[in-house]
């Protein structure tokens, strides 16, 4: 009996002792104290608690740096110039930075930590990006895998964005998601309806955000997001427009189409929308309505794997097959691509081969 007791006490003491040691070490090693961040040469000065990543620290202070992956270091969007206090360049940053950027002291803000006073530079328009509170006003199934989510803004109550831009959706803590994360979604609603936004969310098995939106979120719930971000928007020119989308990549394209309709853009416009089966196509009625409003609009659907019961008579194959067929040469054309990275890459390759210069091909990759 005494032996068992002794064993228990000894083991517990050892465990507790080690845990205590680690706690002491952590409070000493993990504590960076208060740090000052100077933004754009004194334009704004922040006093923050050190230890967090630069991206999340700035976000807590209401400054939102665009990031599509939510701080995992897999998108390379959250670039910030750090003139002082960034520490050495990390191996996790180098894949995203070219030699000129390294020279200009550009860093990936989600990878570096606030450890000391910093001196940073960010584009002035990022100050305009805000955090919005909103309520779920509508939630409906577009296809088996896709949901449309409409959010009405509460605070602030209007958003100014360019059609094609995206926002960062805050997924709160829930059972499968121990800490709140951000995921990027493009806005599908027109930019001239600033009191709310519409998002299209494809279910990703095991995805933190998509599981939340598909299974937990219901009408009336509060949603917090920040934005708008991105340089995927319609450029002003006289070139013929090609819009290419697969899956939920149609969302920003819809917003751009609404803009074309509203502004009466008279450029010839072709939309190519690719899906696997007929049941994966969505927004068909909306597209019919847009066709009435935009005289120069042609819409082409293509199915990569039409099923027998689909009785599909339209185009077959991937979007690249359609592009290959309808574009004879690249003169006076520009393209807007949105969808999975593989689709975007193969389209960019095909379009440049057809002679559309790289600077006239705009895209937004959905990871």
């Amino acid at each position: 009996m005494a032996e068992i007791l002794l064993s228990l006490v000894a083991l517990s003491c050892l465990g507790a002792g080690l845990a205590f040691l680690l706690e002491v070490a952590d409070s000493y090693l993990g504590f960076y104290g208060e740090c000052h961040i100077d933004i754009n040469n004194g334009e704004k000065e922040l006093t923050v608690q050190g230890g967090g990543s630069l991206l999340s620290t700035l976000m807590e202070q209401g400054i939102f740096i665009p990031s599509a992956c939510g701080g995992r270091g897999s998108c390379g969007y959250c670039k910030v110039k750090v003139h002082e206090g960034g520490g050495p360049l990390l191996p996790t940053e180098t894949p995203w930075l070219g030699p000129e950027e390294v020279e200009a002291e550009v860093r990936i803000s989600c990878q570096i930590k606030v450890r000391e006073d910093m001196d940073i530079e960010i584009p002035a328009e990022l100050f305009l990006i805000k955090e919005f509170r909103s309520r779920v006003e509508g939630l409906r199934d577009l296809t088996d895998e896709m949901k449309e989510l409409h959010l009405r803004l509460t605070e602030p109550d209007v958003i100014t964005f360019k059609a094609g831009q995206y926002i960062q959706f805050q997924v709160p803590e829930y059972e499968q998601c121990p800490e709140s994360v951000y995921r990027a979604y493009s806005i599908a609603s027109p930019s001239h309806e600033p009191s709310g936004i519409t998002l299209v969310v494809t279910r990703v098995p095991g995805g933190l955000a998509t599981t939340y939106i598909h299974d937990i979120l219901k009408e009336g719930d509060e949603v917090v997001f920040n934005g708008p971000y991105g340089d995927f928007y319609l450029r002003d020119s006289s070139r013929e427009i090609f819009l290419v989308a697969t899956g939920s990549g149609l969302a920003p394209i819809m917003s751009i189409l609404h803009q074309i309709a509203r502004e009466g853009v008279s450029r010839k416009t072709t939309l190519i929308f690719g899906a696997r089966h007929k049941k994966d196509l969505f927004y068909l009625e909306e597209m019919e309505a847009l066709k009435q409003e935009i005289p120069g609009l042609e819409v082409i659907f293509t199915l990569s794997r039409p099923e027998e019961d689909d009785r599909w008579e339209g185009e077959r194959g991937r979007v690249t097959n359609v592009l290959e067929k309808i574009i004879k040469d690249g003169a006076n054309k520009e393209a807007y691509l949105c969808g999975n990275p593989a689709m975007v890459e193969s389209c960019v390759e095909l379009l440049t081969k057809k002679g559309i210069p790289r600077e006239f091909i705009f895209y937004d990759k959905f990871g």
């Binding site: 064993s7 083991l11 080690l18 952590d26 090693l29 990390l90």
Partner: protein
């Protein structure tokens, strides 16, 4: 007999003739998982050398300073694991504070080491073989270097193997296990040279 062996001999024996990975088959999981290329193998190997050397010293002190006097030798498995885990945590914190670059390089490997059975193996062997403190540390360091040698060699072989016409059913783990077996055969040839068991 073991007392007569110098720490120096044990050090070299642990690297070559009694390689913990290829003669005792300990630490196989990370050996198979992180040996796709030389660079990451070396990163993990260096972390293992460091942790193995330090924890063998630490575990020696805990065992002879705490467990033996209290008569709790039978708890050594669980105690060694706790010590190793705590030490790895501490190392992680120190590295994060002092060298962000090294932290990023080793980042994913450090937690992996906690569950590397070679580290526990070294701690248990040194007890079974009645090593002195100096012998234990030498064995820990040698064991770590030997483990690194084996995983880097495997990394090199697997890099070369990418272009090789491996039969379809043997791709991946299959061929890796066969190679590990061949490497072990070669290393086992040395085992008779020095007796440290």
């Amino acid at each position: 007999m073991t007392l007569g062996l110098s720490a120096f001999v044990i050090f070299f024996a642990a690297i070559f003739t009694n390689n913990i990975l290829l003669t005792n088959f300990l630490g196989m999981c990370s050996f198979l998982a992180i040996s796709r290329e030389v660079k990451s193998s070396l990163g993990l190997g260096l972390a293992v050398i460091f942790v193995m050397t330090c924890t063998s010293a630490l575990n020696y002190l805990v065992y002879y300073g705490l467990l033996v006097p209290l008569g709790l030798e039978h708890f050594r498995f669980i105690v060694f694991i706790i010590v190793i885990a705590a030490f790895v945590q501490l190392v992680e914190m120190v590295i994060e504070r002092t060298s962000p670059v090294l932290y990023v390089i080793l980042g994913i490997f450090l937690p992996l080491i906690t569950v590397n059975c070679a580290i526990l193996g070294v701690a248990l062997f040194m007890i079974i073989r009645n090593y002195t403190f100096l012998q234990s540390v030498a064995y820990g360091a040698g064991g770590g270097i030997g483990w690194t040698l084996a995983i880097v060699a495997m990394g090199g072989i697997r890099q070369r193997l990418r272009g090789a016409p491996v039969p379809k059913p043997l791709e991946g783990p299959g061929i890796t296990l066969i190679i590990a077996g061949l490497m072990a055969l070669a290393f086992i040839g040395f085992t008779g040279m020095i007796q440290i068991q």
